[in-house]
Amino acid sequence: MVKKIRVLIAKPGLDGHDRGAKVVARALRDAGMEVIYTGLHQTADMVVQTAIQEDVDVVGLSLLSGAHMTLFIDVLELIKDRKMDDVLVIGGGIVPEGDVLKLKEAGMKGVFGPGTSIEEMVDFIKENVRK
């Protein structure tokens, strides 16, 4: 049996917009992945701790408040510090194009904006997750 892909969907910071995170969590579960959802108001440290404890393959960060350049980067740096380089980190939310480039440089493999289809996200995870 193939091991199921384990995904952590996380909401860092104070942002309460959780519609997208919940829809994605559910869609990934329906696509056969194991999904853990942190709930709201997580610090970067809490996100990374959960990722370690749950031994996930993917961390999906969702933020619509505009604070992604601080909070996504915080998580990415912690992940680097902990040498979890094989964990696929992706993000979603209202992220302007210029910021997408910077986030990718910082180690975020995929950034998904409004209107992204679930299929696109599932394919991306399957292609890029550690094998």
């Binding site: 959780d18 519609r19 919940k22 559910r26 959802y37 709930g39 604070a67 350049m69 601080t70 209107g115």
Partner: protein, 558 residues
């Protein structure tokens, strides 16, 4: 409206029409969709007639505008007497930057103000709190003290313009900033007008900027009702909001049902405290979404007015004003697309038209660039112009409730009311609002609906122009808002100076008295105002409540 004999004739005629005209044509040339459903998945007939609203009694179920049950509108002259208030929700960066934006909007014909606060403010934290990291001024203006509020409304006549503030957990404190600013400017409290959102139930259900557990939160809200009815009589002490419930993914029917259920719950709590319903009910206001399904939205507003009027009467309200559902509307943020953003102008115009035909008292039209960033000056001006075109050019303001009497709209209004009442029963069976929230009932209902909708977008059953049909691969070419990069530093410095310069012992005393009031049963508003006048910060004042009441953690359901 028709006698039995006539209705029988009409029903017979419908059958005839179906079998000789409609069905044969449909079989020859199939309809473009297999089923026609609105956004609440209600199946729609091809055409409605008098036979669909057989029980409709004009005097009992409709009445004229300004008459019970207010189906047709809360005023007897509606827009012939007064246009809706054009009130654009705005806020970003520092108080100074947002003050400039308010003046810009007022110069261009806006008639009311509406404050968007940043996340730290929404959660009752000062800008320099560790959990505020990265959030300063991002999705609203940062207001950490009376000082910031003074700058926010500098040179704005707060005795003439009304202000709505989207603030919930720390609402009494931020309202305190506003009142204290008027006090300091020598404006009597009886002359300031506006609204605080102050609707904590929908925070647990949808928007999620809650701080304290439900019971102490409800107590603070009743404190504001009581204080407002005595001290600030022109203030709407709550804006019971369906907007965020809808944005979180609910259907229109759920938005209607959950919002009104919230409204009745506030009334119950206030009455249980011993307040007289007619003392506070006239200051209860509402806030709805204007989404894409044109007629469903109009039916929703109409049904809401009727349910509220009937419900309030049942609860013992006697004053006419207590029965009136006055509401603000905002077009659906969630319907905006990042792809081909100019198309959003069209969406917003149609949604705004639905709000006007539904009889809204005030309106925010979204800017076309809001799926990308906070709106630029030009984008927000176009959004405002959209309202002005509806008001000045389309002629829709001349006739009140122009869709009243439409077989379809009356049928849909009735049906939405029935479905809302069914939800009320469900909530009661769960033990009422707070138990239903704690069981995750609303959160689950909303998550189900939003997931189902997303699936239909994925499968192409539902179309979003530019997203899953009529796609283009063109880069987006609209200029986005640039914020002052120095803003956060300015705000840090202002807070540091404030804490240094104020009368420390005076504030300490005021905070101590507030703590005592919070631990007891006294109305907290006067004590909050003392702290605010002593330049206590939002974080300090909210901190007292955090310590006394504790913080709420929600179950993470998806």
């Amino acid at each position: 409206m028709y006698d039995r004999k006539k209705l029988e004739g009409i029903a017979k005629k419908r059958k005839e029409w179906e079998s000789t005209c409609y069905v044969p044509l449909k079989e020859k040339a199939p309809e473009v969709r297999e089923r026609f459903q609105n956004l609440s998945w209600t199946d729609l007939k091809a055409v409605y007639g008098p036979d669909d609203i057989q029980g409709f009694d004009y005097i009992k179920d409709s009445g004229f505008p300004g008459e019970f049950p207010y189906l047709r509108g809360v005023h007897s002259t509606m827009y012939r007497g007064k246009t809706w208030t054009m009130r654009q929700f705005a806020g970003f960066g520092t108080a100074e930057e947002t003050n400039k934006r308010y003046k810009y909007l007022l110069e261009h014909g806006e008639t009311g103000l509406s404050v968007a606060f940043d996340y730290p403010t929404l959660y009752g934290y000062d800008t320099d709190h560790p959990l505020a990291r990265g959030e300063f001024g991002k999705c609203g203006v940062a207001i950490s003290s009376l000082k910031d509020m003074e700058l926010l409304f500098k040179d704005i006549p707060v005795d003439k313009v009304t202000t709505s503030m989207t603030i919930n957990g720390p609402a009494p404190i931020v309202w305190g900033f506003y009142i204290a600013n008027a006090d300091n400017r020598g404006i009597p409290r009886s002359r300031i007008g506006g609204t605080i959102q102050n609707d904590i139930l929908k925070e647990y259900i949808a928007q999620k900027s809650f701080i304290f557990p439900p019971e102490p939160s409800m107590r603070l809200i009743v404190d504001t009702f009581e204080f407002g009815s005595k001290e600030v009589p022109r203030w709407n002490t709550i804006s019971i909001s369906g907007y965020h419930i809808r944005e979180a993914g609910s259907t229109a029917v759920q938005e209607l049902a959950f919002t009104l259920a919230d409204g009745f719950e506030y009334v119950r709590w206030a009455v249980a405290r011993g307040l007289r319903i007619d003392d506070f009910a006239p200051r209860l206001s509402f806030f709805f979404n204007a989404h894409n399904d044109f007629f469903e939205e109009i039916a929703k507003y109409r049904a809401a007015r009727r349910i509220w009027a009937r419900g309030m009467k049942e609860m013992g309200a006697k004053k006419e004003r207590s029965l009136l559902m006055r509401f603000h509307t905002q077009t659906a943020g969630v319907s905006l697309t990042a792809q081909q953003p100019e198309v959003n102008l069209v969406r917003v115009a149609l949604q705004a038209m639905a709000a006007v035909l539904g009889g809204t008292q005030s309106l925010h039209t979204n800017s076309m660039d809001e799926a990308l960033a906070l709106p630029s000056e030009k984008a927000v001006r176009l959004a405002l112009r959209t309202q002005q075109v509806i008001e000045e050019e389309t002629g829709v303001t001349g006739t009140i409730d122009p869709l009243g009497g439409s077989y379809y709209v009356e049928w849909l209004t009735d049906r939405m009311e029935e479905e809302a009442l069914r939800y009320f029963d469900k909530i009661e069976k769960l033990g009422g609002m707070l138990p239903a929230i704690e069981k995750g009932f609303f959160q689950r209902e909303i998550a189900e609906a939003s997931y189902k909708f997303q699936r239909e977008i994925e499968s192409g059953k539902r179309i979003t122009v530019g997203v899953n049909k009529y796609k283009m691969n063109e880069p987006v070419e609209i200029p986005l808002l640039e914020m002052d990069k120095e803003g956060e530093r300015v705000q840090f410095e202002r807070l540091r100076k404030l804490r240094k310069d104020r009368d420390g012992p005076k504030l300490e005393k005021a905070l101590k008295r507030l703590r005592k009031a919070a631990e007891g049963t006294e109305n907290t508003m006067p004590f909050i105002l003392d702290c605010v006048h002593a330049y206590g910060t939002l974080g300090e004042i909210c901190g007292v409540f955090r310590e006394v009441f504790g913080e709420y953690k929600e179950p993470a359901i998806f």
